[in-house]
Symmetry: C2
Subunit: 346 residues, 2 copies
């Protein structure tokens, strides 16, 4: 077994119990060939050591499943669909198959998925965590299941390796551009405060506004759904926003929807900054300027760390961050043209 | 166990072997407490009866996993992401969890996924089949695994229940509209000929052209990818197509990309018929007229048939088809305006 120090092997259980591997195996299978008192003692020891039934099944099969589980919060969100697809490609290159579960942003669904994956033979898990499942994920790691978090991380204190975006470089560049073009006030559509991505991006936005000395801007506390983006965009436009800045893919679609329904032409009547690289964002009449998360690299690093864990290596870093970047297209209004327009309207 | 007549139970194996359930169980676990010759005999019998290791594990656990497996060919294709999401919602309503595998249109990947799902405790499978996996799927069904095909079906002769779209109503209405508007020649981007959807939609298109008496039209034999749609659209435009008609979601994005790059405004410079209901198709400057497959109903019916199979009921119909419909928006050029344009150009 390659999972080394984390997951106690059958051999380790048998060694500590002072019996042969065969006896330990039989005892854990509750085989009456082993005396009842010995069986009980070995089962108790295995439980204390965090030895898992699935690890047992695996040892009995003398092989790994060579399959990893991936847990994401949505699949209609193109960013996560692209992430899963790239995780699967990377895993396949490492000789691993992939099975996927979709939590639909629901902690109970995620909890059940983790339970199923763990008890049905995956060798490791890549998870976009719901914070309500923090304890379960920590327990899984303690019990020796290799786990890597991707996209989101758990609040401080978690020792589970994570691969997340650093939104600061992309958001800094975007706000600097908007400030330069005087495309203010900016209306920022924030992700939810119970996700690390929601908090981290809002912090980046506020820091970028301070850096660019444009003062406090409009913020809508939203969620990762198109309908929420639509509502937020509508509200921010009513508050006088000249730029809509979406904090994720789904809210970007909501922003496009709100502009479409209000008859506003993006890049002409208002500026828009989108998030992530959906193919149709680049095919808008004025292609969207976006913050790009480098989803391929996020996925590849997560798989790379998981394969290290599967090989029994302790990763050298717990937190890996991948910088975002601004992809400048045509959805930001040129300030010079803007001023001319304003003059001609006066 | 609810899977009734299809899957031989441990009890059935023990009955036919003339031994107790406990002995049959031990023999199948290769427990040396059972004489080697008896073990061999029972193992052979179980194999002949199609008794599966996972069924055994399940019987030993005395419970079902209440989890279904879903196998789709892509997740970055929004149509399949929406299908999986709706399958999961419907399954959840029926008290079932869902795990997902993505075959990436690859038969080997699908085959491994089916193997993993079957041997790791799912109660049933909803599958968008690759035709190269036909035998494996038929075998699974014979061995008692409840299987339902969705979106695509297997060539004639398969007895696995399927839920597919009937493209004829939607395509008929589209071609009728195009003929009425004289938006010809039509360039049709067909799906691949090794999928039932590719063949069925092309047949529907040809029948619709015959019905509308517009004669043979341009056809590009493509595949379910954006890049293929882009290449096909470019080729068909060069051949003089006045309308591009995409045979799926991904090729629709490729068509939008080709028009974008050629500087052609959809609904003004050419007509476009898309396929499926991606939210951004309706948010194009001239919203796309599309063929809608009713993905929710496809998903719901597939789950409903699977739950019947799980309850041991034999479904009354093997083939279920859901009609497509034309959603008429603004991407078809009005023939009256067109004629005026043509006159002014002369």
């Amino acid at each position: 077994m390659a999972t080394g120090k984390f997951r106690p092997t059958l051999k380790e259980v048998s060694r500590q119990a002072g019996v042969s591997i065969a006896t330990a195996s039989r005892a854990l299978a509750d085989n009456p060939a082993v005396a009842a008192s010995t069986r009980e003692r070995i089962q108790q020891l295995a439980s204390d050591l965090g030895y898992r039934a699935n690890a047992q099944a695996r040892a009995l099969r003398s092989s790994r499943s060579n399959t990893i589980g991936v847990v994401v919060p949505s699949l209609i969100n193109h960013y996560f669909a692209a992430m899963v697809t790239e995780i699967q490609r990377s895993a396949s290159n490492a000789g691993l198959a992939t099975i996927i579960t979709n939590s639909n942003e629901d902690a109970t669904t995620m909890s059940r998925s983790l339970e199923f994956l763990t008890s049905h033979g995956v060798d490791g898990i890549v998870c976009v965590p719901n914070e309500e499942c923090a304890n379960q994920l920590e327990d899984l790691q303690k019990q020796g299941m290799p786990v890597v978090l991707v996209d989101r991380e758990l609040p401080a204190g978690s020792t589970i390796p994570s691969v997340t975006s650093n939104s600061q470089p992309g958001i800094d560049a975007a706000v600097k551009l908007l400030a330069h073009n005087n495309a203010v006030p900016i209306g920022y559509l924030s992700g939810p405060m119970d996700t690390s991505t929601g908090r981290e991006r809002l912090d980046s936005f506020k820091a970028a506004c301070a850096n660019s000395k444009i003062g406090e801007q409009l913020v809508f506390l939203g969620g990762y759904e198109q309908s929420v983006g639509f509502d937020g965009a509508t509200k921010l436009l009513n508050q006088g926003a000249k730029t809509l800045f979406a904090g994720d893919s789904m809210m970007t679609i909501g922003v496009i929807e709100a502009c479409h329904k209000a008859g506003l032409v993006i890049g002409k009547d208002l500026s828009v900054i989108g998030f992530d690289t959906h193919p149709l964002f680049a095919l808008q009449p004025r292609p969207l300027t976006v913050i790009d998360q480098n989803v391929e690299q996020l996925a590849q690093r997560a798989v790379s760390i998981l394969t290290e864990l599967l090989a029994g290596t302790v990763p050298s870093v717990t937190k890996t961050t991948i910088p975002t970047a601004l992809i400048h297209r045509e959805s930001i209004i040129n300030s010079t043209l803007r001023k001319k327009d304003e003059l001609s309207n006066e």
